[in-house]
């Protein structure tokens, strides 16, 4: 502290900025820790410098082969995209519908404890896994193709929409539920008349968001064989068709930008 000490009222006083972390031991400890972590991480990570050294000529070859992007196989590109779109639409529909029961299960205020724990577990598990991991498992189970993609993105949507919806249900106006119960309505009737009307407007906006998000994800789950444009991209990359791959990439970027714009516009109109 550099408060005004009466003893040194006159003469030059020193002032140093108080440190962000007051305790010097902790401050330097953190710095040492950071340096230690960095050197540990860099020392243990397996970098294949020989192979990395070849990077620049390879990059030149890839980008050289990639420009100009080749749109001549437009049919293939279109088929891939149609499939991605179909996957996204069906997965969003299934996901949003299925997320409702799971959200009800995972809302502490209307679900009994065992059901609540089950609902939460489903949501946590489906949120913990990246869609690509889920996709590779579904491909292993049901084979290559759009079915695996739909199952993956349905699970992905249940995790995301279910979590937000469960939070929404936990914050509903309880008075309406009590009003319904006081009329002698059963559990399902209460849900239908007192809970759903309160969360439905939000659900519509969320579905639009999820459709956009699923369209993005459908481009990547294809990389592990779950159908859609991602599979087309992976094939092009595997066959060193870099000009076609770059064409696909450009179209993916364009579609994502358009879809983001449309979804944003619709959500603004609804909310």
């Amino acid at each position: 502290m550099t408060g005004p000490d009466p003893g040194e009222k006159r003469g030059a006083r020193a002032w140093r900025k108080p440190s962000f972390i007051a305790n010097p031991l902790l401050r330097y400890g953190l710095l040492v820790l950071l340096a230690g972590y960095l050197s540990w991480a860099l020392a243990t990570l397996p970098f294949n410098w020989e192979r990395i050294g070849e990077g620049l000529p390879r990059a030149a070859r890839i980008f050289g082969g990639g420009f100009p992007p080749n749109f001549s196989r437009f049919d293939l590109l279109l088929t891939g995209f149609t499939e991605s779109l179909q996957i996204a639409i069906l997965a969003t529909l299934l996901g949003v519908l299925l997320s409702i029961p799971f959200a009800v299960m995972a809302a502490r205020n209307i679900a009994p404890l065992p059901i609540y724990l089950l609902g939460r577990t489903v949501i946590i598990v489906s949120r913990s896994f990246h869609p690509v991991i889920v996709a590779i498992l579904f491909v292993a189970a049901v084979g290559f193709g759009p079915l695996a993609g739909i199952l993956t993105l349905t699970l992905y949507s249940i995790g995301f929409v279910g979590k937000l919806l469960a939070e929404e249900i936990e914050e509903i106006d309880w008075g309406q539920v009590e009003a319904m119960r006081s009329t002698g309505a059963g559990y399902l009737a209460t849900l239908y008349y007192a809970v759903f009307p309160q969360i439905l407007p939000r659900q519509v906006g969320l579905s639009m968001y999820q459709l956009d998000s699923n369209l993005r994800a459908s481009a990547v789950v294809g990389i592990v064989g779950a159908g859609g444009i991602g599979s087309t991209l992976m094939n092009a990359f595997g066959r060193y068709d870099y000009d076609f791959a770059f064409a696909i990439l450009l179209v993916i970027i364009a579609v994502i930008l358009i879809s983001e714009g449309v979804s944003g516009w619709v959500r603004k109109r609804i909310w």
Partner: protein, 269 residues
């Protein structure tokens, strides 16, 4: 609360004029048609769909019980995964901050820089991490470097966009005061802008680190290092019990990452 909700309900109700109603039916019809088209047109062999529950439960039973025999190897790969996420997040900061500076309307030096900044952000955000990984594996070969670069390329857009928004939302008045003291542009930034965006900066970086942990678990599926490499290997050799162990490990990693994130965020706020 009740009164308020009634009011809201009343307002929504009034919006449903006949024309609005028509629009609503139109939207429903279009949605229905889209779904019918998607179901009829999609390239799915339907008998497989009815068989899917069997297949999934059979795969599930082959995974049980998880086999811990390769746990040491899995743990090493997990540490590698965390390293990739952490190093990439740290390195991203050095690129994302200048980009956010030129992509924010109130700090950008000129219009050309503004559009360059926005282009970098859009390009980075529209390409998924795994596609970036695909590209870098082709260039630098399989390994962690491709993974780190892929995560960085995607994170620049995320951190840069949010930081740019934070810069655009700062209070203009301290900036005016610093300009009035005769401070140069650099000093105005250091004193009037940086202190205002520091909390947002930490929150954004922590959030992205959490996301990056998740993303780096899949890098290995295209050969870019981390736990995904072992996962892919186990799937290819049908070692389903090892796959189960890896999946459990990933859930634990993600949950631990979330807990650390929550803790850090409370510290920073």
């Amino acid at each position: 609360m009740v009164d308020n909700d009634d009011l809201l309900a009343a307002r929504i109700w009034r919006r449903h004029t006949p024309r609005e109603q028509l629009v609503r039916y139109g939207v429903m019809l279009v949605t229905l048609m889209l779904v019918v088209w998607a179901v009829r047109d999609i390239d799915i062999f339907w008998p497989w769909v009815w068989d899917a529950p069997n297949q999934i439960s059979s795969l599930g039973s082959r995974m049980w019980p998880p086999d811990p025999s390769r746990l040491g190897e899995i743990l090493d790969a997990m540490v590698e995964t965390v390293h990739i996420a952490t190093l990439a997040t740290m390195l991203t900061i050095f690129i994302a901050l200048p980009v956010s500076y030129i992509a924010a309307q109130n700090t950008t030096p000129n219009r050309a820089c503004l559009w360059l900044g926005r282009f970098i952000l859009v390009a980075s955000r529209s390409v998924n991490t795994i596609i970036w990984a695909l590209l870098f594996v082709a260039i630098f070969g399989p390994g962690v470097l491709a993974g780190i670069l892929a995560i960085m390329c995607r994170s620049v857009g995320f951190i840069g966009k949010l930081m740019g928004e934070a810069i655009e939302e700062i209070d203009r008045r301290p900036v005016e005061a610093m300009e009035a003291t005769g401070a140069s542009k650099a000093k105005v930034i250091v004193y009037a802008i940086v202190p205002q965006v520091v909390p947002a900066f930490f929150a954004i970086v922590i959030l992205r680190w959490d996301i990056n942990i998740r993303e780096s678990t899949v890098l290995g599926l295209v050969g870019a290092g981390g736990i995904g490499v072992i996962l892919q290997g186990s799937i290819d050799t049908f070692a389903w019990q090892t796959v189960a162990t890896i999946l459990v490990a990933i859930i634990l990693l993600v949950l631990v990452g979330e807990a650390i994130t929550a803790l850090l965020r409370r510290r920073v706020m």
